[in-house]
Amino acid sequence: MIRFMGVKLASGLAAIFGASILAFIFLRIVPGNPARLILGPLATQQAIDAQITTMGLREPIYAQYLNYMGGFLRGNWGFSYSAGQPVTTQVANRLPATVELALYAFLFAFIAAVVLAVLSTYRRRAIIDGTVRGLAIIGLSMPPFWFGILVLMLFFSYFGILPGPEGRLSPTTAAPDAVTHLYTVDALLHGQFATFLDAVWHLILPAITLGLAPFAFLVRLLRANLLDVSHEAFIVVVRSKGIGRLWAFARHALPNAFLPTLTAAGLILAQLLSGSVLVEKVFNWPGIGALVSDSIVRQDYAVVQAFILLSAFCFVVVNIIVDLLYHVIDPRVRVS
């Protein structure tokens, strides 16, 4: 077990290392002069040369890399010139919004996928199954930003029952005191139910929009697995002991069908945690996706680099957790 974890950890670190090198080199090859961007079009050549030197851009590229990584590990993620702030501050401001949205989107995708997959396979009614499959196709083929605009038009402009693209809270609601920086959690921790409800209200549309494609993907996977498993011989054997349909389904078919979807669910969660530019833009969500896209446009290296490292880290961590989970729930993977 310890050896297994060691191997996983080492390969994870290797992945992060690879990502860091790629990000570093790639961003240095991209055309454009960061010093010129910082100082503006009116700066003299001398000023620009001086700026390049102070930024350390004259050093050999491996030295630049080592300087950067050394600083990164010590908590110095560089300085964002376009925002005039350290990158750490910027990320700290933006990350919680993305994490909260990602978690709710994942929760929606996952729960909806399990419920609908079960509904479409348990009784094998053609109507339910057809509806679920249709929903999955729609979910997979609908561009999320367009779907976002559509639900905004419907539920905000037309019915007026859900808030518009105003971010995480209504303008009149104050953010709860920061503990986890996730508004729903913090509001509950402080017993501010009105704030909690407001935060949930603002999460509904973006979470569904962001979770739609992952939901469609998971429901298809889970449905196919459930159909396969419910034809397995062991289900008949379980039933021959006198076990009812529902119990055999819940206790035997579902866990077996669920196992292969775990890896996919982990990857989806990691991807959601890296933020989504388009959905965040549509809902005016102050998350990391919008920050990164702005930074790319402004050639703000430091932010983009930190983001790439962060999402590599995120993927690695989620994958290690998934591997650990397999150890807990799948005896065949367990190393004795």
Partner: protein, 366 residues
Amino acid sequence: MSDSKAIGARATRTSKVEHTAGDPPEAETVLSVRHIQTEFVTRGTVVRAVRDVSFDVKRAQKVGIVGESGSGKSALALSILGLIEPPGRVTGGSVWLNGREVPLRDDRRMGRVRGREIGLVFQDPMTALDPVQSIGDQVAEGIRRHQRRISRKAVRRMAVQLLQDVEIPMADHRLDDYPHQYSGGMRQRIMIAIALANSPDVLIADEPTTALDVITQAQIMDLLERLVAEHHTAVILITHNLGLVAEFCDVVQVMYAGRLVERSGVDDIFDGATHPYTEALLRSVPRSDHLESGPLPSISGAPPNLAALPRGCAFEPRCPIGHGREVCIQEQPMPILLGPPGAEMRVECHFASERYERARAEGETR
């Protein structure tokens, strides 16, 4: 005169078989299957997997059901358990256990019968156990389902005892292991333990040894024989291994195209089958005591399409006796009881009596 002597000899032999098989000399009927019909409907075509099958099984009796693949053996087994899943459906008939009708069409009430009064041992031990649940949990599941008021500890003790009964070494240690940690033969032992957990009156074993090597097959059959003798359990052994039937069973039932075409005592059928299909089936099996030169005979033609069955006898197109005969083409033969009372011989063939008499006459002259 000579006729009655022959009948007398036959009668004594049959009763001897029953006496060794069951504890009470006058064995009572535990399972009655009456006119079971099972159909599978896919895209408008109706596949008639089981057609009007009736038979009785006495306490501790061992009944073999043989037939080629697709003859309806497994469908019959699942029909008796009420486990036919859509698109399949039991469209008619009834099953009686210990004199009470089994609620075949009420899944909830059927759950009280399955596992308690009828147990099932499934074909392939590699896929018949849930891969992510421990063996102990899977054995205990059946016990707990039918014996609600016993403690966790007692259930565990019972599970250990069951595994010891099926000769799994270090049973109390291995209870927490998972199926992939056992070999195929061991898994089949576990299957038997699960099926016998509540000492059912009837055990249906659907090709229990097909997936195993010959040595393991013999061990499993010995084990099964010992256990059903201890529990006085009646067994329905579904197989296409005629050798297994000859060794293990008291009575043989032959299925063809969803119908029970012949039922006979095991000695009678191996001495000389009455139904032409049974005869052909037996001839196509190599036997060490009937060494003949030349290639092994086979049955020409293919089994009928169960979605488009002929009006008359389903075996008519392949039958060496009835092929082309008007009565065989036009009329479904009805079961004919043969032999002395209690001989358990029942054959679905228009020429059954004729063939039976002739065979017996030939036996006399020999």
